[in-house]
Amino acid sequence: MLKEKGQLRFEDKWTYMRPIVLKLINQEPVSPSEWQELFYDVHLVCLWDEKGPQKLRDYLHKDIILFIKQAQTKVLAQRQEEALLKAYIVEWRKFFTQCNYLPTPFRQLESSLQGKTTAGSSSIQGSNIKKGQNDESIVRKLMLDSWNESIFMDIKMRLQDSAMKLIHAERNGEAFDSQLVIGVRESYVNLCSNPEDHLQIYRENFEAAYIESTEMFYKLKAPEYLAENGVQAYMKFADQKLKEEESRAQKYLEVGSNGVIQCCVNVLVGQPLPVLLAECAPLIKAGETDRLQLMFRLLERVPEGVQPILKELENHIVQSGLADMVAAADVITQDSEKYVERLLDLFRKFSKSVHEAFSDDPRFLTARDKAFKTVVNDTKVFSLELNTGRITGTKSVAPESKCPELLANYCDMLLRRTPLSKRLTTEEIETKLKDVLLVLKYVSNKDVFMRYHKAHLTRRLILDASADSEKEEDMVEWLREVGMPADYVNKLARMFQDIKVSEDLNTQFRASTARHDAINIKILNAGAWARGSERVTVSLPVELEDYIPDVEEFYKKKHSGRKLQWYHHMSNGTITFATNGGKFDLDVTTFQMAVLFAWNQRPHDKITYENLRLATELPDGELRRTLWSLVAFPKLKRQLLLFSPTQTNPKDFTEHTIFWVNQDFALIKNGKPQRRGKVNLIGRLQLSTERSQMEDNQSIVQLRILRTQEAIIKIMKMRKKITNAALQSELVDILKNMFLPSKKMIKEQLEWLIEHKYMKRDDDDINTFIYIA
């Protein structure tokens, strides 16, 4: 059977092979013996005829082309779009199926041909064969390339046009068999024999045509729809169309073909952007969350779409927030509860709309925060003048928002025993305190809050007026959690510790002697409670004065190296007032006590202002204020003291104004005078005197200067050399939990530090500073 090389000719064998090959190409049945013969003949041809493989390839090619020509005729015979696509797909699928079968018997041919072209290492050859005939097969490639050249090139424009016409029709609401378009796309993908980029033909032809026709469609449709139906309807239209096109692309395009959506976004959103944006402000103003949500969804798709909405939102919050505050100015300037509630209502309203319209997108939360900060720190409605009297160093101080003061007042109402705190449950109080902390986050000058909060806490602790001591200490921790400076929070914590120490001391003192049931001493750490605050002298009634040496003696035994100073403007007590009508317990300040006790020796006398001053030795301002609280206490229908001549302001008391005890004093209940009762006349216990209030303000300004200087030095030490701009931003970063330093103050402190040789300006650049060690 075996013959010498050259004796077997391809042509002889081809005569037997061809009918089988033609059957395969035409998808006609082939018997197993024919199938095996074909294998064997290919083997022989490749083995015995040197030119065999080449010739086999050429003859095969001819027959493939022949088949393709026939298929082309069948396809082109179709005039109608759908029929054409259908015919093409039928032919293509037939052919493509054969692409997987036909190469099998020619495997020997593959290796012979590849052997010739890559006549090198056998390992490469081996691996090539192993990869299987499908992807790398020469015959398969021959078939696909032939299809591409002989039919596809000629009719691809017609195919694409037909496919796009169908899609166009679908966009206009006509139904058709989507498999037609999908089949065409698949042929584009499968046709590609480029192993590196098997989507090349698809992308360059099918996808490109798809994008172009889509763009054409919406370029026409979008402006038309906008003109006819207005912006609101258009947004819904655009949103719906984008969704449609997304699912359409999923159906007709390969995964990862995003170009068409980009193109739709550009036509549907990018081009009419100004018209859409013009709608933004009114929608925000009207709080149309559904429409805003739609608008956000659309504009988020284009790069410059969101920024303008953020700007509008911020403007709206600032403007409507401030308008709201101004409109309610009468109420909120008088009532810190109403003020804080109002702010919180605003905050909740804005947060709700950010949530509903913008799904709490971080960019919108930031815009809300920025705007809310502006509202909270605005000084239009009311401002706090940090009146510092004659202070050297800083000139005028810019007015600041009263917000931190009111927040502190509100906290006090919640933490002290007040009608408000009695009305609320523990949980409600906790919620409201947390609300305060929420607003506090937005306050620029937290140091002002701290000062007032500390003053209120001092008053509560000294008067034992806390509603809930556990809540008090919780609050300290919450302040720490929201980032209040540690040294401040530690100081508050120290006050609680100190008051406990003092309670122990009081217990010991009362145990040390039997006759002190009426006294309850508080001896506190000056560093924690009253640094730098001023004392007020008073001449104590003997009843009180008697206790002083005993206490001091006792204290000296317990401690050494300490000195005591009495803070009578903080002390208070209860006295019994016996009148014609009954007996009443009065909670009073020590100053009120000192004034009232002046009558104990002369109950019915009328005493002049001048003589009261001599008796009490109170400073003028303190005495006027104390007297006023006794002649015009707001809650009382019958006052304790009466006076003449009548004045409406304590400032108008003269040396000769006379005062006397109202012997008909009584507490009135339901219009009837009572015989017994208790009343608290302490009111807002004057913990700081008028002068020390001024000093407080002064100290807040001085403390800010000091903190600023410290922070500058800290930065300079670390950076050695730094530009002005960088310094300013680091400075704000360090100080922001206390206050926002003004540009002016920073500049003044820089000058001062330069003058005092802590730092200098760079010789080459006056905007750069250099640290001097």
Binding site: I521, I523, N525, A530, T574, A578, W599
Partner: protein
């Protein structure tokens, strides 16, 4: 005459205003000439730097950081001075030999 005396006694016993309860407030501070500790530069009424750092965890911080007076009458945090004398047994302010006059309590 008896009646008059009774009357007077009545008045003196039953004063118009009588004290029921008094809550006086006093502040204590170290009896020092200089408010600041020259070693750590913190006010003597506050705990010294080292104690402040330690008591950060312990919320209410113990108030054990007392003051010490030398024979020269200069005063410092006891903590600060006891570290100082390990290096140099002289008062940092007047250079006199350091000896303790009294301790705060």
């Amino acid at each position: 005459m008896d009646e008059n005396e009774n009357d007077r006694r009545e008045v003196s016993q039953e004063k118009m205003f009588t004290l029921k309860k008094w809550n006086p407030v006093a502040m204590w501070s170290w009896d020092v000439e200089c408010d600041t500790c020259a070693i750590c530069r913190v006010q003597v009424m506050d705990a010294c730097l080292r104690c402040q750092a330690e008591s950060k965890k312990d919320l209410y911080g113990k108030q054990d950081c007392v003051v010490v007076w030398g024979e020269c009458n200069h005063s410092f945090h006891y903590c600060c001075m006891s570290l100082w004398v390990k290096q140099n047994n002289r008062c940092p302010l007047c250079q006199q030999e350091w000896s303790i006059q009294r301790m705060g309590k």
